[in-house]
């Protein structure tokens, strides 16, 4: 049997890699992919606890998180395309019009 702490450790590692991706990468699309990686790591933690407690509620929450992530990706990419239309770049360091 695999201890649940192994799954939680893997989830923590994937979340950290997602955070590192958001902090390091400047391509807006790879940044967005790192956010999806963070969401997946949280889903993995939820399913792990659902198994540990034999409670189906954890998996129902993961279902809703997946739906919300799909909606977020659609709107976020539409925003990115709209930004690209004016700026002609996907480098997030170039998007600083609101800077004081």
């Amino acid at each position: 049997m695999v201890p649940t702490s192994y799954y939680i450790l893997l989830s923590a590692l994937l979340f950290t890699l997602g955070v590192a991706g958001v902090l390091i990468r400047r391509n807006a699309l790879v940044l967005f992919m790192s956010v999806e990686l963070m969401l997946n790591s949280a889903n993995l933690a939820l399913v792990t606890f659902a198994m540990a407690r034999q409670d189906i509620a954890g998996q129902i929450v993961v279902f809703f998180v997946i739906v919300v992530a799909a909606a977020e990706v659609a709107v976020g990419l539409a925003l990115l395309v709209a930004i690209f239309r004016t700026k002609q770049t996907t480098d997030v360091d170039e998007i600083h019009s609101l800077k004081g």
């Binding site: 201890p3 893997l10 989830s11 390091i24 198994m51 129902i60 990706v73 990419l77």
Partner: protein, 178 residues
């Protein structure tokens, strides 16, 4: 045996995530993220979640990654990033902060080492049980997510219409479209 499968899948997931971060080509990053999503779906099978295994493959690997690839190819964003950094200390600081976060989360995860959970009922999350819970106890969130998806679709259409048009031609196009 289950431990061996878990270790192999975990290594594949981590390798996919690291390769996604380090790859200069955005299309390669999307493919590595796809590898990571498939590895996570295999982990769902190990965690007695067959419904989520299928949903993860259909929605994440089959729709979200495809959407990412469409947008990457539409914007031509697969070029490598400009090596010129605005602040030279930004990347080392990001990596060190992520390492601190990993230390904290790892300490929390390993604080109470628990043995493998003995699963009394292997089918506690069979699709029938998920459907039973989703359409009785969790019916309200289910309907609300339907509205959320509708709002997302309408938002995407509005974002497409609002941007990129010259002020003079916008009304003309809307008038001829009925």
């Amino acid at each position: 045996m289950e431990l061996v499968i878990f270790l192999i899948t975990a290594v594949v997931a981590i390798a996919g995530a690291v390769a996604m971060l380090l790859s200069p080509n955005a299309i390669h990053s999307a493919i590595f993220l796809l590898i990571n999503f498939v590895a996570i779906s295999v982990l769902y099978v190990l965690l007695y979640a067959p419904f989520l295994f299928v949903i993860q493959l259909i929605v994440y690997a089959g729709a979200i990654i495809v959407l990412f690839l469409f947008v990457v190819m539409l914007l031509g964003a697969e070029r490598a990033e400009d090596t010129r950094e605005r602040f030279a200390w930004q990347r080392p600081l990001g990596v060190s902060l992520a390492a601190i976060l990993l230390g904290l989360l790892g300490y929390l995860a390993l604080r109470n080492p628990s043995a493998g959970a003995t699963v009394a009922d292997q089918h506690f999350a069979a699709p029938e049980r998920i459907a039973e819970a989703l359409f009785t106890t969790y019916l309200l969130p289910f309907e609300i997510t339907a509205f959320l998806l509708l709002a997302a679709i309408v938002g995407v259409v509005v974002l497409h219409m609002a941007g990129g048009r010259e002020p003079g031609t916008e009304n003309r196009e809307l008038r001829t479209r009925n």
